[in-house]
Structures are given as structure tokens and as C-alpha cells.
Subunit: 367 residues, 2 copies
């Protein structure tokens, strides 16, 4: 049942109520709708429609004499409508822009956004070699523009290939591994090694790994190395054995990275004027590990995804919405960026921003 059954004017009303609520942040009444939107019906008619919508579960009332507030289901309808109308324009609706903006101004805004996007893409390209810097920039931009919390997961290592690995002897039993990946990212790690290994030994090991395995993904290499261990258990030559040990250490980066930004920005939202609600958000993102697992699940889907309130599998997010998108290298999604905000979110803005910036990132990884 439900939204397929709704007739045109009911759909219009629902959309209007959600849109109004997102902008006003106050329950919207029938009179407000009739005044603001000229549907050609009186407030009494709208009242009846709204009563129906409440019955269907799209709207609810904080108390009997207040206006209506969207439920998660109501937001879902609204977001789906936005997608039906087509993502890609920041000017769909739901922004605070008044209807009396001249078309000329719309175009000016559009032009501005295009330019911003170009600049931002260029900026990212300049940071291509420094993932940290790049995603720091991404999350900062996203959160300060949207006032929501932004999260980014840098490219998954399972898709990165080894470009080159080197080892440098430090002192006694310490050595540093330096890893170059196809994305131009550098990682390093301090290793504990047999103290009898000289720099020459390390060089030979590195040479071996580079010649045999460069070009493969990091996981592939791990698999192949493991296979070797089993196959040649009794007869590994010393070099391979050492290489395996060292490689294992070098690849076990402690926990994946995740970038989060915007706790400050989110304090400006009226939705979080109550500190207990702010704590809710803070609690949700505090557990980075959980957040990481959560966003990783979104890696499979394509395009922008919106999860509203209780749609989130995580209980802690039941009062929050997430707008997420993958970014890709070629056709393969390699990471996720997302915005987290109240269920009462400026969805069209958020969707537009996440979509745009994800595309900027993808462009950086392309070629």
C-alpha cells in the first residue's frame, strides 16, 4: 500500500509539508501550506489530506493542536521524489531560497557552483600524493559547507596495488618499510627484524618483492605469499622466508583510517541546540571502528545513497540521516564519503554536495 496509492494532490501536499518542515523546523499546519503553495484548495481540504497522510504513516503530530511533522517514511517519500526529479541540480527545492528569486540569480548561483567545483577538483588533484591532506580537505570542505558531520574513507587497500617497497635499516633490530602504491600514496612502518640483517640483506629482500610482486594488489600478494608458505614448507629458501615475515609486518597497518570532521559545525544547527542530542551524534561517531564497518557496507552500491533515521541498521543512528556516495577508480568503487545530520536534513543540498565531491575525488583517481 501507501505511496503508489496516493493521488497527485496528496503527493504534492506531502512534499510541501516535508519541504516546509525542513525549512521552518516547526510543525507545519494546513493554513501554512495553503498560503505558501497555491494548490487551489482551501485549508480544510488540506487538513483532510493531512489527516489521511497521518493515517498512512507519513506524518505525525507532536501534540493534537500542533501542525504535522514528517516521519521517517515521510522523509523517505520526499527523498525518493528528489531522486525521481533528478539529482545533479542544487536548485531543486528545499533550500531557503524564496520563490521570488529571479531566474538570473539562479543562473548566477549555478555558475558559482560550477566554478567552485572546478576549483575544488583542481585543488584535490594537487594533493593526489598525500591522502591524508586530501581527505582532510574533503571532510573539512564538506562539513563546513553543509554544517553536517562529514566522514570519508580513504581508498581501500584491497584495491591498491604495490608499486614499490623498500626497507631501510634503522638501528639494531629496527627497520622502516616504505610502501608506494599505484595511487601514489606512501605509507611507512617501523618493523622489528632479525638484528643480523644488514642493509644489503634488506635491499635484496625488497628487490625480490619488487620484481616478483609489484603490480599486484596488496591482498593478492598476501595470498600468494601464504600459498608459498604451504607449498614449499620444507624448502623455502631463506630469502623468501624472510621476505614473507617482513612483508606481513609491513602490511598490517593498525586499523584502517577514517576521516571525520564537523562536530564544531553541527553545533550551529538548531536541531542540536539541546546538548543531549548533540551527545547522541557524538556518541554515534565516536566509535570510529563501528562507523568504518558501517560505511564499508555502502561500498557495493553505486551513486548516492540516503539512509533515514531508523533505516540505519545501527541503533545509535536512529535519529540521524546519512547521505553517502562511493568514489571510484575507473569503474571500481574504492571508498566512501558521507554526511551525517539530523533526519530533518536539507536533503537536496546534501545529496548535491556529496555527489559533486565524490565525483571530484573520482576524477582525481582516474587515468
Amino acid at each position: 500500500m501507501a505511496e503508489d496509492v496516493l493521488d497527485e494532490r496528496t503527493r504534492q501536499t506531502l512534499f510541501a509539508v516535508v519541504e516546509s518542515y525542513i525549512n521552518k523546523l516547526e510543525p507545519v499546519g494546513s493554513r501554512f501550506v495553503t498560503k505558501r503553495y497555491s494548490f487551489g484548495f482551501s485549508s480544510a481540504t488540506i487538513r483532510n489530506i493531512m489527516a489521511d497522510l497521518e493515517e498512512y504513516g507519513f506524518l505525525s503530530q507532536p501534540h493534537i493542536s500542533a501542525g504535522r511533522v514528517p516521519t521517517d517514511k515521510g522523509y523517505r517519500f520526499y527523498v525518493d521524489s528528489i531522486f525521481d526529479k533528478g539529482v545533479g541540480s542544487p536548485l531543486i527545492s528545499d533550500s531557503d531560497t524564496d520563490k521570488d528569486l529571479s531566474v538570473g540569480q539562479d543562473e548566477a548561483i549555478f555558475e558559482f557552483l560550477c566554478q567552485f567545483t572546478r576549483n575544488f577538483a583542481r585543488k584535490l588533484r594537487g594533493m593526489k600524493n598525500d591522502t591524508n591532506k586530501m581527505f582532510f580537505e574533503v571532510t573539512n570542505t564538506l562539513s563546513s559547507m553543509s554544517n553536517y558531520i562529514s566522514i570519508a574513507i580513504p581508498p581501500k587497500t584491497e584495491h591498491t596495488t604495490l608499486n614499490r617497497i623498500d626497507f631501510i635499516k634503522h638501528k639494531e633490530d629496527k627497520a622502516v618499510a616504505i610502501l608506494l602504491t599505484n595511487e601514489g600514496i606512501v605509507k611507512n612502518k617501523m618493523l622489528k627484524v632479525d638484528s643480523r640483517l644488514t642493509q644489503e640483506d634488506l635491499n635484496r629482500i625488497a628487490e625480490y618483492l619488487n620484481s616478483e610482486y609489484s603490480g599486484y594488489t596488496i591482498d593478492e600478494i598476501k595470498r600468494v605469499l601464504f600459498k608459498r608458505i604451504k607449498q614449499e614448507k620444507m624448502m623455502w629458501d631463506d630469502l623468501i622466508s624472510k621476505a614473507i615475515k617482513i612483508y606481513e609486518q609491513a602490511m598490517s597497518f593498525a586499523g584502517e583510517d577514517i576521516f571525520i570532521s564537523g562536530i564544531y559545525d553541527v553545533m550551529n544547527l538548531p536541531d542540536f541546540s539541546d546538548i543531549s542530542k548533540l551527545k547522541e551524534v557524538a556518541g554515534a561517531i565516536k566509535d570510529k571502528h563501528l562507523m568504518l564497518r558501517f560505511l564499508n557496507e555502502l561500498l557495493n552500491a553505486k551513486g548516492v545513497q540516503v539512509l533515514i533515521g531508523r533505516e540505519n541498521s545501527d541503533r545509535q543512528l536512529k535519529n540521524l540521516s546519512i547521505v553517502a556516495s562511493t568514489y571510484k577508480e575507473g569503474d571500481r568503487p574504492i571508498g566512501v564519503i558521507a554526511l551525517i545530520g539530523p533526519t530533518r536534513m536539507h536533503y537536496s543540498k546534501a545529496i548535491y554536495m556529496v555527489d559533486t565531491i565524490a565525483k571530484c575525488i573520482s576524477k582525481t583517481f582516474e587515468q
Copy 2:
């Protein structure tokens, strides 16, 4: 004038009022003081004393019929008293522990803290080679134990000496510089180099730098290199010239690091139940650059320092207090850790924690 003039019982009263306020978070009245502390005076006498203290500027009243609240000057007196009594014990006062704790319990707590400290020191030692991890751990521990915001500045590069530098050719005009310091810290950076340089060239440059300059501080090397440029302007050999260019790039790390943690924890404090106050804190630490400069000024002083409210040079911190300490390598202070909280802070706890953890860090850098 002022505190030197105060007689014993006035001092006692002031101390009692501050201590009580820190625990109650409510203005404290004369009756409360007489009940809680058995000075042997009636509330009327205390009232008179408190009126004097207000006149001297140590206390103030929110409104005429409320109890007294310490001013910054009052806190200053209190903190100085704590230092006079001697830092080092976590049990001085000002904690919520009731007076009727048996001595046995005190000892149990003391024993627990000693053990915690030993464990923590061991933990840090295990992270010696990973500054990031180490200071991440430090700030997290500090903030979650204190519920205040913790900040740490990792060892200043001006005191680190070059242990070894290496360059690895990446592709075209890119190369990676890997830097090992005396503290066992590794930094890397992507460089733009003349695309005609081969890996062999880079090796020669690295070899040159290592043989000539390892053991010097990073700043010293910079100075010496600059001198060379001037002296031998017309006759540098190609190697030195290239080395200088590359070294310059490699050393210009974008912005110093700073570790901040505890925005979540601080939300649990009643002092920040009002979101506008929380914003104040957030604003103060948002500008990491400013915070960095601020804490760097504290590098000169030794031991634990406390800055209360308006004592802070920064206007944004006028309602906050900072408890900071340097940590050292040998005798030389190389970095700072600090706690930021409301002026109504559990100073003795904060001081004890900062002191203890700073010592743990110092121990890690000694050898």
C-alpha cells in the same frame, strides 16, 4: 597587597569556599562552610570573612542573596596553595572523595595509581617508534580520565637530529623522501624533482647528506646549507646544489602536528550543559594553529603550569583554564601536553594527571 595580608583563618575560609565550589558547582554560602568544615566559628563570622574576601577580589556573588563564587584571583590563590602543599599526590583534596574515606582506602587508591602509571609508561615505550600512535594514546587517555580536553604537541623538530635520510624515485618527476630522526620517528614526503634524476643520483645525494650532516639538528642543517649557498654561490658543484633543493623541500612539513582529544568527554561536564559554552570551547580549540603557538610559549617554563581564565593571553580562553606541562628529553623540554577545562576545574586532579603523564613521556624519550 592581598594574599600576603590574609590571616590564617581567612586563608582557610577562602580555600574552603573554592574547594566547595569546585565540588558543588553551586555558589557556596557561609552556612555551608561552617557545616562542612569545623573551623570553630559561626556562620556570621564566616560571613564577615567572606565579605572581606569579596572586597579583596577573591570571591564574587552572582546576585545579592546567593552564596559566593571564586574569581580567577580566587582560583589562583587556591592553585598556589596546592603547589605550596606539594604536587605529586593525587589525594590532596578537591576530589569528590569524602573525608570519611579510611586511610586504607587512600592507600589502595594510591597503589592503583602507581600501577596504572607503570603500565602506561610501558605502553608508551612500546609505541616509541610511532609518534602518531603514541600521542594519540596520550591525548585519549588524558581526556577520558579527566573529562577535559587534552592537547599534546609532539617533539619539536628544532631539537630533533637527522639520523638518516633517503630518497626513492617514484615516477617521472616524483620522489619520496624518508626521514629518520634520533627519536626514532619516521616522516616521509613526496617531492617534485628534476625528472632527469635517476635513482642512482638520488642515492648519491642521500649519501652526501647522510655523511655530512647526520647527527645535526634539522634546523642546523638548514642553516649550514644556506651558508654554503652564499659562500660558494658561483662554484657549487652540482651535487650540493641539488641536495640543497631537495632537502629544503623534504624539510618543509606543512604545519606542525598537534593532537587534540576530548570534545566528546567534555560534553559530560555540567559546566558545558549550555551549548553556547560548549561552542566557546570548541571555538578555542578549533584553530589548531593558534593553539599550537599558544602552547609553544609554554615550552620555556619547567614543571606544571596553570593558567586560569583571563590569565590566558588569548581572549577566547578567558572562561577556561589550562593545566600544562612540558616533557623532556634529558634536560631539554621538547614538547607540551595540556588539559583545557572550565575555570572551575578539579585542579589537583588535573595537575596530578598532567604531571604524571608528562613524566611518562619523558621517560620514553630517555635512554
